[in-house]
Structure formats: C-alpha cells, structure tokens
Subunit: 321 residues, 2 copies
C-alpha cells in the first residue's frame, strides 16, 4: 500500500471530506486522544468528522470527549489512528477493515492494510505524530486538543518513563504546555497514573501474593481472572497500567500479564525491562506491538496458556547471551 510522508499526510487530510475516524477496540489513552484530536483538527478545517470505536469509551477517558455530541455523517473517507491491524477494529472490522483510506500509526507491527499509511515507529504515540501534523495544517491547538495529545503521549510512555520516550516527545509536550498553559496536565497524570480505586489496590495486593517467578526470576507472571475482578468489584477499565505491574520486581526482565476476558480466552500483555524484544515473542503467538511492550490473544485453560507463554519466553531467553 502507499507510504506517505508526514507532509503528504497533511496534504491528504486537507482534501478529505466527511471523515469517519476509527480507533482500536479496548480503547486506550493514545487512540482516544488521537481520534478526538484529529476530529477537532478536521473540524477546524471546516470538515465533518466523527470518531467510531467498536467498544464504548471507558469512563476514565471521559475527559477526552468533546463537549458537543458527535455529528452523524455518511463517511466519504475512512481514517484509522493507532490501529495496527484491521482485526483490532473489533466488530467494525468487517465493515471497514478493507476500506481504510489513511492509517496513521506508530506501531512497528502495523500490517499495512490501509490504502495509504503514515507510520512512524519511532514516535512514542500516535498523538505525538498528530502533534507534528498540527504544525503542517491550518489549525490552532486548543485546550481540548492539547488535553487529548498530552494524554496520548503520557499514557503510551508511562508518563515519559519508558524508552519509547524521545526528545521529540518532551519537546512536543513542552510546546503543548506553552500553547495551552491552562490545561491541568498534573491532574491528567494523577487520574491516569496515581489514582486507584480501593478495589484495584486490593487486587494488586492479591497479585503480589500470587506473583509467579520463572526462569530464576527473570520472568514474572501474573494472572488476572474474572473471579478476582468480581471479588474486588474491579472493572476491566480499571486494569489500565496493570501490565507494568510484574516489572516492578527487582531483577525482572520480562513481565507477563494474563487477563481472562471470558472463560478460556486470555488477553496477554508482555513487557520487557531491558534487552528482550517481546514483540518477537508475541508475534510468534499471533500478536505484536513494540520491542518492550507487546500483546497477543490466547485460548485455553490457565495452565495451558501459561505453559505456551513460558515455552515461548524460554526460547527467547535461551537465545540470549
């Protein structure tokens, strides 16, 4: 498919009309922020645009929604932001999976499914790319836009903690802060990273008790079952960031989080601290993502899924010096 430069992407956006902006299922801060920031950019350029997602936007990202309800429109073009694979469109995949006109993404594992693509896998977040686009388009950064773009970059970098954070990320944030000093950036961080419900805290206590150490403590595995979530009245949306939890352990290189979605169906998140490329491990299991943060979906009993995961991790660690 056609690979665009950032400049070409800007020019293409300038000529598009009536855009449906797709974001991925299980929406996170980056895709929600990118979706609504892009919609506002298109609105400022006099166009109609609406964000669509197969799942409802979790309450925790409610502050990213625009004040006005979204327009209903018959799309003349289909955009996808932060969507690495049409499968990730969820229930919208059948309708739109093969007809995306332009995809803007930062996932190295992007499968190049759209008619046009702008991919910058060095960008910390799709929101970082959208910030760069604001410089090339006739738009003004509003408080709402800055809120969206900041949230995307902050959430995808763990508040500028992970090594997908680059100098461009910090410069983009500095520019947002200067352009929109009234945005409550620290409040966003507090909501995204600090505040936890009491149920989530109790769940974390249980997960510490049940943490599994494998390969001499190089790999830490936790399993979040539906039973745990019910026990502590924790909503799935509250699990945000839990994938980073296993890597808190001293000496851990690979952190694995098994999340039970339905009986026998698991969503796996894999993180690495230093030298392991977990995107390769996840790709071998049908998933993908970034070098230090990837995921996949797996079926089976807890024991079966765990064994398959550990076999794959063993291979990866076995190939290490």
């Amino acid at each position: 498919m056609q690979q665009l430069t950032l400049e070409e992407t800007a020019r293409w956006l300038e000529q598009c009309e009536d855009a449906c902006i797709l974001i991925h299922q299980s929406p996170d801060g980056d895709c929600v922020g990118a979706g609504f920031a892009l919609a506002e950019m298109l609105h400022q350029m006099g166009k109609r645009a609406a964000v669509q997602c197969s799942d409802p936007i979790p309450d925790r990202y409610g502050f990213l929604l625009p004040d006005a309800p979204q327009e209903t429109l018959t799309p003349k073009c289909i955009l996808a932001v932060d969507v690495a694979d049409p499968k990730l469109l969820g229930s919208l995949s059948d309708q739109y999976g093969t007809s995306v006109d332009l995809c803007i993404d930062h996932h190295r594992s992007n499968v190049d499914y759209a008619k046009r693509r702008f991919l910058d896998s060095a960008a910390s977040a799709t929101c970082e790319i959208l910030y760069e686009l604001t410089k090339l388009l006739p738009v003004t950064i509003t408080d709402h836009m800055a809120t969206c773009l900041y949230t995307g970059m902050a959430t995808d970098t763990g508040c500028f903690q992970y090594d997908n954070t680059r100098s461009e990320t910090h410069r983009a944030v500095a520019a947002l802060m200067d352009a929109c000093p009234d945005v409550r950036y620290a409040w966003i961080n507090r909501q995204m990273f600090a505040v936890k419900s009491f149920g989530r805290m109790q769940l974390e206590q249980l997960l510490i008790d049940r943490m599994e150490r494998h390969f001499d403590g190089k790999c830490i595995l936790i399993c979040v079952t539906q039973a745990f979530l019910q026990q502590f009245h924790v909503d799935e949306a509250e699990l945000d960031g839990i994938a980073g939890f296993p890597l808190q352990v001293e000496g851990a290189e690979i952190g694995i989080t098994m999340k039970e979605k339905t009986p026998g169906e698991f969503r796996i998140s894999m993180r690495s601290a230093d030298y392991v490329d977990v995107s390769k491990i996840c790709q071998s299991l049908g998933g993908g993502g970034h070098v230090k943060a990837s995921g996949c979906s797996m079926s089976g009993t807890v024991d079966e899924v765990r064994q398959t995961l550990l076999d794959a991790v063993g291979k990866a660690l076995g190939g290490m010096p």
Copy 2:
C-alpha cells in the same frame, strides 16, 4: 543576603576556586544529581570541587557518583545546592551553616541563609537550574552530567507527573537527550520509579491495610514504623517515593506519611493533589517545602503526632470553600 540572577550566578561560579559543594541530609535524587553535576561543571572549568553530605549517599543513587574518587581539598568557597535551610545540612550544619558563599535552590521555603543566593522556585528541581547554567558556562554536557541532571528532574517531578513540571523542564530533558543519546534514561526511570524490592512490596501491602481515612477521605494517613521496616527487611533508602503512596486513593486531597526515624521522632511528608497548600501546613509545624509537597519533623508518640497533624490539616481544610 544578596540575590543573584542566573547570569550573575554563572559569573560567580567562574571566579570561585576549590569548592566544597554541600547537599542536604537524607539525600535524594535532586541534591545528589545537582551536587555531582556541579562538581563536574567546575572540574571542566579547571577548578577543584568535592561534594559533601552529612549522610552517606544511598546505594540507589550510586550510579550518580563519578568514576574517580573525589578530591580532598581545603575549601576556599562553600556552595550549597538544593539546601533550603542550614538545619538540613545535618551534622555539617555547625561547621558550614553560616558560611555558605552561594546557595542554588528551587525551594520556595528557602530561608535565605547564604551570602549569595540564586532561587528559582518555579524550577522543577535544582537540577533544572543547573541545566540552565550549563548554557552560560564554558562546559560540555557529558553522559555523566546528563545522568545527574536528568535524575534530579525526574525524581523531583515523579517522572514529570507532578505540577512542578513545566515546559522548561520538558525542554531541558529534550536537550539532554539530544546532547547525550547514549544515556539510559528509561533505565534510570525504571530504577527510580518502577523497581521495588519484595520487602517494599510487602510493606506497601501492609500500608494499604493500615491506611487511615480522615475528613471524609480527603486526608489519607500512613505511618511507617521502624518495626515495619525490620519486619520486611526494608532499608530507609528503599522508602523513596512512599510519600506519594497515600494520594493513590481516589478522592484523597492530602496524603500524610509519618516515618518513624527513632522512637518518638518522626519525619512527616505531606502531599496534596489539587488545591491545598501543604507548605503552609508544614510551616505551621516548623517545616516547609513546596505547595504540593512539603515536610516537617515532629516528636511524640504516634497518637500525639497524628493528633497534631490532623488538627493542622483540619484547620487548613476548614478554611477551604
């Protein structure tokens, strides 16, 4: 005492010789980073300089120490970085408390004790000020200097999470990353913010169980006793960041951490989420600090200290709309 501009501070540093650089007791990432960064800057300018602290530098900041052992020198000038009050020099206070030639600091509560002072209370960290000084001095930012300056800014802002983070902070970090791309910034973040010993994790579990909710949950208080530290084999230096722990609770505005230093002696850390100025509360108790992060020392039994703290918090909350 004399208030210097940043430019005057740079000129003064250019003419000083054989500097003893003092940092505060219970050293943290900002004062250790600032101390060793300034020493290296002075070395590059052909001067002798050594950092002195009343306490040993904790192991967790060992990576900030220079490779070469420090010079022994008879100081011709005394500098203090990140030291808001001569009391905070600990056991070095008697020797140096009244003879500091230049103090560089970002604490609003700085008591103006030095002959000359550069104070920028809007700076996120003393290391942010030192970064600005590198632009005015004939020095080159090395990997070690970038490591020091980055660590100071990252630790004092909770990895750019708190609202002392400003656009200048992000720009300074971006410049460090561009100047020194080989520094392992994400590794520093992981060591400072993510990795915890198993003992610390167990301590946090206990603290969740024992968390006290006061004033309708607006104030959360935890008390870390020496008995807890011994029970989980947790070192004081491992308590870093624990002061942010109470504010994780949904709805908390003030988080108080009582740390028992010796029987009957407590170090208090106070944090606020949004609207309370905890520096005023701590000043009323003989301490000080920043609007959203302050501290003080108190004596008494747990119950006495708690009651005094809650009385002071009640007054502050009572005065709120």
